[in-house]
């Protein structure tokens, strides 16, 4: 029996940004223990400054951990060979402004040591895939709208057909239609067997696509689990059924009331991710305030 190697695993991952002469240092991430299984869509959530982007940068080896370890696809974070199997879309589109879409993807294709035929094929495919208007493909990226640049950014993240895709705010700058396309795309990636690490503030989108999520607050992991587990409201009993006659519904409500059940609300009951997120953040802030007082 073999144990499957997780796509991402962190062990006590900590990042402290030192200040001047080690004063005013900032703890961006504290003892993060996280496991992302292969083939799942994992949401990385948290308010601004909670350490989401720091986590991603640590995973990619762009910054160095203060302590702890992180493995991606079974190899230490930042490993050059492993980066061949990773696609990364940064929170903003950081691309050369003087290159056009094709030249940009050609450059990144070269970094993946793709030969000419592979590059041409992949560039055409992914530019179509992200839906970049063919009319703008030969214009410099500096002249693109935010949405167009975002599509090129996404194309560069997928160019190497990665096993693990890290998407930092993928829907930022996209119109509702583009957002919908992006969500469909993420689901497509899961179907293709890819692992997706998604960091986003668009909680509705995350809720729609993610299998599991975690919420970070001030660099600490507060919640981790599957969407269904986390959003379940245990004190509320729900019965779902099709074509329940109104009369029967009324009887059931009456029976429940007779039995002393309170707050009987007929219909489907489900919590919102946004509520959970807000509740958690507000509670934390309130406890911080009372602690400070």
């Amino acid at each position: 029996m073999t144990t499957e190697i997780p796509a991402i695993q962190t062990r006590n991952l900590t990042k402290i940004y030192p200040g001047f002469w080690n004063t005013q240092s900032v703890t961006a991430l504290q003892n993060l223990n996280l496991t992302v299984r292969r083939g799942e869509i994992f949401g990385l959530l948290g308010p601004n400054g909670s350490g989401k982007t720091t986590t991603i940068k640590l995973l990619l080896g762009l910054i160095n951990p203060t302590s702890g370890e992180a493995d991606l696809l079974g190899q230490p974070a930042g490993d050059q060979i492993t980066r061949r199997s990773i696609g990364y879309l940064p929170e903003e589109t950081y691309l050369y402004r003087f290159l056009n879409a094709r030249q940009t993807l050609d450059f990144y294709g070269r970094l993946f040591n793709m030969n000419r035929a592979q590059r041409v094929r992949a560039i055409d495919f992914y530019l179509d895939f992200v839906g970049l208007d063919p009319a703008v493909r030969k214009r410099r990226i500096g002249t693109y709208s935010k949405g167009q640049a975002r599509r090129v950014g996404l194309a560069q993240a997928l160019l190497n057909d990665p096993d693990l895709v890290i998407l930092d705010e993928p829907t930022s700058g996209l119109d509702p239609l583009g957002t919908e396309e992006m969500k469909n795309l993420i689901i497509e990636l899961k179907r293709a067997g890819k692992t997706v690490l998604l960091s986003s503030h668009q909680l509705a989108d995350v809720e729609d696509v993610c299998d599991r999520i975690c919420i970070l607050y001030r660099g600490k992991l507060e919640v981790e689990g599957s969407i269904d587990e986390l959003l379940e409201v245990r004190e509320v009993f729900t019965v779902e059924g099709r074509h329940v006659p109104d009369e029967l519904q009324a009887r059931m409500v009456a029976m429940l009331k007779e039995a002393g059940v309170t707050d009987v609300v007929p219909g489907v009951q489900r919590g919102r991710l946004a509520d959970l997120f807000k509740k958690l953040v507000l509670e934390k802030r309130a406890s911080e305030k009372s602690g400070a007082a």
Binding site: T54, K57, Q80, E92, L99, R110
Partner: protein, 699 residues
């Protein structure tokens, strides 16, 4: 800190940096050579990918405007600065074109190299790039290669434009020279005709007791004719004499002795320089002892020629430390009846390095003794000081000791110096049958392989002579050059030639290949000695050690031009490397400042060495006063500066114009040396750059 110690420390720093690099970067270096799968590229293809993008970045920054700007600037300069002498036009144009390229590109690449990394860091493009399978080493090298390729592209463009400009300028120059020559020739013919008529008229006038006017006759310049025929687009190849030992100016040469001996002419501007390569050492008690017990120089001239009695000959002596040329002591001495003179310098501590228990306590560096003879008509025999004999001068450190210090063999003899050239005077009518002054060129036998020298159908090889002339009297006459040549193993088989000097052009002289010795064993060939004299009274011939050379086939001018461009390329590559290294962790303004500072220090090697020597000269040697503390502080600062300079690449060695403006072919060995120098200094900077970027946080 001595000069050598400074360089030992500098190279140790290099070695340490490179060793650390090898320890840290072995994995990244390995990845450079690794192919992920068959048919795919290595790390070098990723470097090239980054380099291509860097070239695109420079191009997007309108770097292509540079050749146009350069062209406009040099065309204006070339229109404004027009030398009167046509033969100097092409070298001057080359100077303008190449210097313009060098400076514009240096400044442009300096700016680009320092800006690129900080800008990518600021725009976070590095975040996207570094998330790809691209190592930091590849990223760093890609930037350097990219800017170097940009510089190379621009150099090729500007080089081809230079070639087109120079070809056109040469065409115009030749046409102008031809027209001028035709005019001069016609004037000359008219003047001759007029002179003929005048002489007929004057003979008629003489009969009547009157005098007639004489029309000046100006002979058309042969150099003009040669310029119109040959142009200037070629690259000479030749063998020259060794710089110091191969060239001398002598008052007279005695061929009766074997080998022929050299004489210094009294009353002339001739001088002989004895070089002491090692320190002149003496015990401190002798140096600081009372007069009469100090170290002294001993001069001995066993043979003299000339009309005056030998013992009246005077010699003027100058002792000079080579590292502090301003610091010198002079003395005029009279040779006694034994043809000997002694001199105990007044300030021995400024010349002699104190030595105790076999250790040199203070290194004052090598010393030169320059000696001249002011007594007219005297000829002093200059001994070569080879193992068979003794030289004319030695130092006696202690009077009781016989351990004299000898100078290097074969002292250098020089004559009247003018504009970096030596002059040999033509025969002086006032001196009657005096021996003429001569320039001696000694070509090393091992360099003269008869199989490699081009011989003509008569079996002669060509000696090229670039001579300048100076006419004091007899201005209407052409300057005649008299040449004697022999092989040192056959000094009596002398070949003689006489020809009119064509000024500012290369005069070609054919000499028989029998002079070369025709031996396959280089040691048996023997040196070829060529003596050059001025045969026209009142004229002088100016020459230097490069003036007489044995010709090899000419090379392509275009190739030579691109060799010079290659030197600029190497210089820029080094600057780009420093710029990119500095910009890894610094913002662009500071990176530019640092790079500029490195470039300045790299141009300061000689200046700092001079400062260090000067500091030694003016340092307070005795003291325990406050001045000493200041001296030590100053010395320490200079030592530190010297160390910094030693660590920096020596940019003064990169001389793209060195051969080109003389229309000489740049030897591949010179280019190779420059490339090796760049490689030597690149390694520590690559190592340093890698160390800086290795753990840099790019987020």
């Amino acid at each position: 800190m001595t000069f050598t110690l400074t360089y030992i420390i500098a190279y140790s720093v290099f070695a340490v940096v490179i060793v650390i690099f090898c320890l840290c970067a072995w994995k990244d270096v390995f990845m450079l050579f690794r192919r992920p799968t068959r048919g795919m590229g290595t790390g070098f293809s990723r470097i090239w990918a980054v380099a291509r993008t860097t070239v695109a970045e420079a191009w997007a920054g309108r770097v292509w405007l540079l050749p146009a700007l350069w062209l406009a600037a040099v065309l204006i300069l070339m229109l404004v600065v027009v030398p009167y002498d046509k033969s100097e036009r092409i070298p001057l144009y080359l100077r303008v074109l190449i210097t313009g390229q060098e400076w514009l590109l240096l400044v442009m690449m300096w700016v680009l190299a320092c800006i690129s990394f900080p800008r990518e860091r600021e725009r976070k493009i590095l975040v996207t790039n570094a998330s790809k399978p691209l190592s930091r080493l590849e990223l760093f090298l890609g930037k350097v290669v990219g800017f170097s390729v940009t510089a190379a592209l621009l150099l090729v463009i500007m080089g081809l434009m230079s070639y087109a400009i120079i070809t056109y300028a040469d065409f115009r120059n030749r046409r102008a020279a031809a027209e001028e020559y035709v005019l001069a020739e016609s004037d000359y013919q008219q003047a001759l005709e007029k002179r003929r008529q005048e002489s007929m008229a004057s003979s008629a006038l003489k009969l009547q007791g009157g005098t007639a006017q004489k029309t000046d006759i100006i002979v058309p310049s042969e150099s003009l004719k040669k310029l119109s025929e040959e142009g200037s687009l070629f690259a000479y190849n030749y063998i020259t004499v060794p710089k110091k030992t191969g060239f001398s100016i002598v008052g007279m040469m005695d061929f009766a002795s074997n080998p022929p001996t050299r004489y210094l002419k009294g009353g002339s501007q001739e001088k002989v320089i004895y070089h002491f390569a090692t320190n002149l050492t003496a015990p401190p008690e002798a140096i600081f002892g009372p007069p009469g017990s100090r170290p002294f120089f001993f001069f001995f001239f066993p043979v003299q020629l000339g009309p005056h009695p030998p013992s009246t000959a005077q010699v003027n002596v100058i002792v000079r430390r080579t590292k502090a040329p301003l610091h010198q002591q002079e003395k005029s001495l009279t040779l006694d009846s034994r043809l000997v003179a002694q001199w105990e310098p007044d300030r021995p501590d400024e010349i002699f390095s104190p030595m105790a228990n076999g250790k040199v306590l203070e290194d004052l560096g090598p010393v030169d003794i320059t000696l001249s003879c002011p007594t007219p008509g005297v000829y002093l025999n200059i001994l070569d000081g080879k193992p068979s004999g003794q030289p004319n001068v030695c130092l006696v450190p202690i009077r009781t000791s016989a351990n004299a210090i000898w100078p290097d063999p074969e002292p250098q003899m020089l004559g009247f110096e003018r504009r970096d050239q030596q002059q040999v005077a033509g025969p002086d009518p006032k001196e009657g049958g005096a021996w003429p002054e001569m320039a001696v060129y000694r070509f090393k036998g091992p360099d003269l392989n008869p199989a490699k020298l081009p011989l003509d159908s008569k079996g002669d090889f060509t000696v090229a002579m670039a001579l300048d002339i100076d006419k004091q009297d007899n201005r209407e006459l052409d300057t005649q050059c008299y040449v004697r040549a022999y092989n040192e193993f056959k000094p009596n088989e002398i070949v003689e030639r006489k020809f009119d000097v064509i000024e500012k052009r290369v005069n070609s002289l054919k000499l028989p290949s029998t002079l070369l010795g025709n031996e396959t064993d280089p040691s048996k060939r023997g040196d070829v000695v060529i003596l050059v004299m001025c045969a026209t009274p009142g004229h002088w011939i100016s020459l230097n050690e490069q003036a007489i050379r044995i010709e090899l086939p000419q090379s392509s001018f275009l190739l030579n031009l691109f060799k010079s461009e290659a030197v600029i390329f190497l210089e820029i590559t080094l600057l780009v490397l420093i710029g990119v290294t500095c910009s890894i962790r610094l913002g662009w303004p500071v990176a530019m400042l640092m790079t500029g500072l490195c470039y300045m220090l790299g141009n300061f090697a000689e200046v700092v060495a001079d400062w260090q020597s000067a500091a030694k000269v003016f340092a307070n040697p005795q003291g325990n006063s406050g001045i000493l503390n200041m001296d030590n502080l100053q010395k320490g600062a200079l030592d530190f500066l010297g160390l910094l300079v030693a660590i920096m690449p020596d940019f003064t060695r990169m001389e793209p114009l060195k051969y080109l403006v003389d229309l000489r072919d740049m030897p591949w060995s010179y280019l190779g040396y420059e490339a090796a120098l760049v490689a030597l200094f690149s390694l520590p900077f690559i190592a340093l750059g890698y160390m800086l970027i290795r753990k840099q946080e790019l987020g």
